[in-house]
Subunit: 197 residues, 4 copies
Amino acid sequence: MGTTPRARRSDTRERIQQTALGLFVTRGYEKTSLREIAEELGVTKAALYYHFKTKEDILTALSDRLGEPVDELIAWGREQPPTLENKRELLSRYSVAVRDAAPLYRILQENQATLRDLDIGTRLRERVGAVSQLVHAAEDGEDAPLETLVRFSSALLTVHFGTFTLDEMPGDPEARRAALLQVAMEILDSTDGGSAG
Amino acid sequence: MGTTPRARRSDTRERIQQTALGLFVTRGYEKTSLREIAEELGVTKAALYYHFKTKEDILTALSDRLGEPVDELIAWGREQPPTLENKRELLSRYSVAVRDAAPLYRILQENQATLRDLDIGTRLRERVGAVSQLVHAAEDGEDAPLETLVRFSSALLTVHFGTFTLDEMPGDPEARRAALLQVAMEILDSTDGGSAG
Amino acid sequence: MGTTPRARRSDTRERIQQTALGLFVTRGYEKTSLREIAEELGVTKAALYYHFKTKEDILTALSDRLGEPVDELIAWGREQPPTLENKRELLSRYSVAVRDAAPLYRILQENQATLRDLDIGTRLRERVGAVSQLVHAAEDGEDAPLETLVRFSSALLTVHFGTFTLDEMPGDPEARRAALLQVAMEILDSTDGGSAG
Amino acid sequence: MGTTPRARRSDTRERIQQTALGLFVTRGYEKTSLREIAEELGVTKAALYYHFKTKEDILTALSDRLGEPVDELIAWGREQPPTLENKRELLSRYSVAVRDAAPLYRILQENQATLRDLDIGTRLRERVGAVSQLVHAAEDGEDAPLETLVRFSSALLTVHFGTFTLDEMPGDPEARRAALLQVAMEILDSTDGGSAG
DNA sequence: AATGAATGAGAGTTCATTCAT
DNA sequence: TATGAATGAACTCTCATTCAT
């Protein structure tokens, strides 16, 4: 009862994105051919082109959708003053956003060379760069000392790459995320905690 | 007397590797065609095949050469007991090794999806995995608590990825490396320093 | 009172033809895709197929419409004896007909290779061929000498191709047409003027 | 006795051009696929790409080769003052050049729409345009009257298009060429013959 | 009167690789 | 120590056309 077996007003566009996302993650963007996507879906290559103008367009659609929370986070971050407290909040939210968009960021991570000259590559890198900027932004006019900057970097690297490199560990993913975030926070705190202590 | 006008005992093999390395870094492994390498060198594609059995072979040769210090480091690490002190030493040496082999690791980083099904990809990942294992190895029989493991990860992520993501910063690269290492050390120290303090 | 807001008795068929004619002229028949026509019109490709059975059919409709005057001219010509006087008349009328159907003849001219195996191509060429035959037709039983035939050809070539190659010249098109016709007439006249002299 | 059956240092490049020329003439440039050329030659498509960078490149090579005499003629023409006598000479030489390069000019003629946006199309049209300019060039500072210009056009149209439209006629091609040229000369002469008479 | 969805066929092009010389 | 010539497989993309709704 109920589930339409083949969908009337066509959910094909949806299904293309899901299939593509899976293949882009497991096989890589470049190595995934449109033939593969089409075959796995049981349609012809031409059908893909009915729904998307180019191969890159499929990834763009995916990026627009999955990357939205990060975009919102960046927008939020730009409105806040670059206090330590706000950076903590930023990292905290980012750890959630990057987890939710993990497949997308994995694609970016593992296909950087390929995506380099694609528009979508630029857009993805800008997203990452924007977060990085917010994390590094100086609280006052003065430039922060190198060590402080590095600490900011380290905290972000921990959250970002930890999400990917630790996901093969056994155990509760949520616990891992919490632990990563906690360590990142400590790195952040030691920034002036060290100088203050 | 002196400069042979046209290659002493064929340095072509050498030159192929250098050219390939440069192109693999800037354009990516997959996107660099043998035609490109050959053209930039002023030889024919067939010449490449005289010196290397396959395209992958070029990368393999590069990896054998540039990766040697890391291999030695791994060998050294496996002989040491997994004390915190040794991990500090490991990270310290690693920060030098990864800096020296930066182009190679960048290629690995930015072409993961492509290299995934290549033998050389496996070998490169094993190298990274081995370092990771040494850093995570438990000091005694018991499993370390998650937070401790994450701290280890964080320290390694800082050294490893920091080397790449920070290299666009202005300033002295060596100072950056020192700062990265220092922060990594602190992360490492807070492991039981926190519980001890 | 009364401009219907959205097509009275569907002028879509009309509009398709106009759009197609424009594109066939500027981009060529083959290079104009049905997608282009549809997009420029703001309808779907399928709509074109509601009004025309095939792409060729659009051109056929165009040809039937624009080519009518030439067809009538041919019919007229076939009823006249092939006197020099009638040829003069024929050329005169042709210079008007080809001007009025210029876009159509331009399409034929510039897409000959493409139209070669299409039915409509054959029909278009037959039209041109028929005019040519009328111009070359011998006045009496005997075959005309080569030079005379060539002169007939030359007169027709002048009117026909002159219409297209001269239309980038500045100045009054009608004056140009008159001049072309006049020169063509002189060529025709010198036919027996030479033999008579 | 003696003809190498398969050629050592490869005459394939040559053969590709011949085959392509033939197919471009009979089937048209666009409608001739590289697969067709390759099959007719008994090689693979990739072999074509070893010898020519693109499909257009094949036509370009053909144009460079066959168009040379016309280029030389243009160069010659540009050095002469635009006297009637020189125009006679120009037309005379042109009738030979266009005959020799007939297949090339036929391709240009019958595929204008297709070649329009190709570089080679531009170059081919420039060649034709250059001849046209030489024929129309004013002898003195004053602009020639329209009728004179039209007469110049007519003479050129006669030689140029006559070469193609008359080549289906039975009889000696050389006689036809001579007749065309003669008629063209008369058209040219009547230029001031009319005003003088 | 028109749309949305899809297809099959084919295009030009690029690639890593091979092999006789 | 290299080259010239070629291949087979794959790729992204476009097109005219169809058909249920």
